[in-house]
């Protein structure tokens, strides 16, 4: 009750009651989500991207509802607390144009972070570790399982290609993105795209967007993915360095971690099953690399024509 009383005191919200402790409340103005933040800098970063990416975009991110005194958050114990809108209905992937516009706006915001900001400077930039993957796969490689040998070999080639691009463009800034960028966070309110962001520490680079593209492909088709990239490109140029940096992240064999997770050598039966899953996982992810590289090639050809 203490939190409910605080919310009623601080916010222009009435009739507050719990729907799902400690995150969901019902109010006279609909369902709201409460988020708790332990790091002030992280909270500020999340306030900024939500506020900035709402400007002019056809989509609405789950911005922080302001208190009666206009503050985006309140101090609650040793944490900060924010209130957001909440929706259950999934938006889906049919409206490629709207999604493309939102992702494009998001990338523009992600590129405009204050480069001098200590928090932004210290943002984690995930690096793919092939050595640890090879160590994990060592026994299988010794046994010369074809799918393992092929995938590790291809991973090395893709990683070399990715490093070559990243080295060439190492002086170019990278976007700082919400770690939990996901198709599933797109919800529907009044037929518009309402995007529910995350709370995690942000990530430097295109890995969150890569994950988003993987999800998109799982939900749709290669042609829909190409269409999405075309729409994003209308709002955030992928024609030059940033496009190449995205390509570098897409070809980085991140899926190898997921594939290796499928392995289980506790019994022969499980090992065979695990290898089958490994192969499936690897093959399905190759479609992403193939589709994205095809999109870049088609775009280049169009420019050349």
């Amino acid at each position: 009750m203490e939190l409910i009383n605080t919310l009623e005191k601080e916010y222009e919200l009435y009739g507050i009651r719990w729907k799902e402790r400690p995150h969901l409340i019902m109010t006279d103005y609909g369902e709201k989500r409460i988020r708790y933040w332990s790091e002030k800098e992280n909270l500020h970063w999340h306030i900024r991207w939500r506020d900035e990416s709402s400007k002019g975009s056809g989509a609405v991110p789950d911005r922080m509802i302001r208190t009666k005194s206009g503050e985006p958050a309140i101090k609650y114990g040793n944490k900060w607390l924010t209130v957001h809108d909440h929706a259950e209905e999934w938006y889906g992937c049919e409206d490629v144009e709207r999604w493309g516009q939102f992702i494009g706006t998001l990338l523009n915001t992600a590129m405009s972070s204050d480069k001098q900001d200590v928090f932004v400077k210290q943002t984690r930039h995930p690096v793919f570790d092939l050595k640890s993957c090879i160590t994990l796969a060592e026994k299988y490689l010794e046994a010369n399982f074809q799918c393992m040998v092929t995938s590790i070999k291809e991973s090395k080639q893709r990683l070399d290609f990715s490093h070559a691009i990243k080295n060439k463009l190492r002086n170019h800034a990278l976007p700082v993105l919400d770690k939990e960028l996901s198709v599933k966070n797109g919800r529907k309110i009044f037929h518009f795209l309402f995007y529910q962001g995350g709370e995690s520490l942000p990530i430097k680079g295109y890995l969150p967007l890569r994950k988003f593209l993987v999800e998109w492909l799982e939900q749709t088709s290669p042609s829909s993915l190409k269409l999405l990239l075309t729409e994003v490109n209308k709002h955030f140029s992928l024609d030059r360095e940033q496009g190449l940096l995205l390509l570098a992240e897409v070809v980085t064999p991140w899926e190898l971690y997921d594939c290796l997770d499928q392995l289980d050598n506790s019994s022969l039966e499980r090992m065979i099953d695990g290898l089958k899953k490994y192969e499936d996982c690897w093959e399905s992810n190759r479609i992403l690399v193939k589709t994205v590289t095809e999109w870049f090639d088609e775009k280049r050809r169009k420019v050349a024509l």
Partner: protein, 357 residues
């Protein structure tokens, strides 16, 4: 009645206010939004990012300096005063039903409010020869080009064997129109020379779109101004010229009424001699008549000759009333100042763009 389509169209905007419309009615450029939480006015506009932030700054600044007779803007649940959706900007205000009992007092309240805003924001600018020179040259060139266009229209009409009723009406007043044009130019030159000599220039926060339609009365009968989308820091004459030029087109309006309204305004901001001259200059320039000619040239197939002639005659009648009004205010001494003035930082420019009838 509200259709599902309208709810969907305005849903994304009203979501920012946590409002669910039960009914949406169109009232001019404003939507009347009826919800369980009350009735609101939703305005749709086209504004750039700079214009949006200036607009909200103006509304907040007016409140800070003590002018509260402005229709307030409701903030969204995210603390913004406008909602941007695609190329459109929206803002929400309380809905005030029109009260016809106050219609007669509208002009007085409007001018009184304008005077108060101007007095509260009046600022003597540091004289900038470059800015005054640029403003003068810009306006003079614009007026001369328009005058040249009208002379060409006259020459072409005169060469015709059979003139149209519109051309005939225009030609019969041509000399009078040109006299007013020359008078406007002469007054503008005088203003420029006085500015150069006195090295002074005053600016105020101008509403930018003064109109009776932009004053509404709240349930207690108190007049409130709205639509500050075109607000600008400029000479007080900008607002006065727009107001009097519009007012002169009302059938019942008389130069005497105009004079008493200007006296009311000058109780807040007594005009300097050069400002009075600038007002006469702006008002004398027969832009509304020229606009009627433009309309005739460009859209003569959209209207009948009789409609075009009526429009022109009405503007010429208004021009005559304006001339009498100018004669009356030229002679009058300014009334005494009754209220102290405050000021806000301003930038200087004169702009004659738009807002001509």
């Amino acid at each position: 009645m509200t259709t599902e389509r309208e709810t969907l169209n305005y849903g994304p905007v009203l979501f920012h206010y946590d409002l669910f419309p039960e009914k949406i009615e169109q009232h001019g450029k404003v939507k009347k939004v009826i919800t369980k939480r009350g009735t609101f006015a939703l305005k749709e506009a086209e504004m750039t990012e700079d214009e949006r932030s200036w607009f909200t700054h103006v509304i907040q600044r007016l409140s800070e300096i003590g002018f509260h007779q402005v229709v307030p803007l409701y903030p969204t649940k995210f603390g913004d005063y406008t909602v941007q959706l695609g190329s459109r900007t929206y803002y929400l205000m309380p809905w005030f039903a029109s009260d016809e009992r106050n219609e007669r007092a509208k002009d007085e309240v409007l001018i009184d409010h304008l005077g108060k805003i101007h007095a509260l924001t009046l600022k003597e600018q540091d004289f900038s020869n470059e800015v005054v020179e640029h403003s003068y040259q810009y306006l003079m060139n614009r007026w001369e080009n328009r005058q040249y266009e009208m002379e060409r229209f006259t020459e072409e009409a005169e060469q015709k064997t059979y003139m149209s009723p519109f051309e005939l009406t225009y030609l019969s007043h041509f000399h009078q129109i040109m006299r007013m044009t020359e008078e406007a130019k002469r007054r503008l030159k005088e203003w420029y020379e006085t500015c150069q000599r006195e090295k002074r220039y005053r600016s105020v926060l101008c509403h930018g779109k003064v109109s009776r339609n932009h004053l509404i009365f709240n349930p207690t009968g108190e007049g409130h101004l709205l639509n500050f989308e075109k607000a600008v820091l400029d000479t007080p004459i900008r607002d006065l010229a727009v107001y009097f030029r519009r007012a002169a087109h009302q059938k019942e309006w008389t130069p005497e009424e105009g004079k008493s309204l200007l006296d009311l305004y000058e109780k807040h901001v007594p005009l300097l001699n050069e400002e009075r001259g600038l007002l006469i200059s702006y008002l004398s320039y027969p832009e509304p008549v020229f606009n009627a000619v433009d309309l005739y040239c460009m859209k003569r197939n959209d209207y009948s000759q009789i409609e075009m002639v009526h429009r022109l005659e009405s503007r010429i009648r208004a021009m005559k009333k304006i001339r009498n009004f100018c004669d009356a205010i030229m002679m009058a001494p300014p009334p005494a100042l009754i209220e102290p003035t405050d000021s806000i930082p301003t930038k200087i420019h004169i702009n004659d763009d738009g807002d001509h009838i």
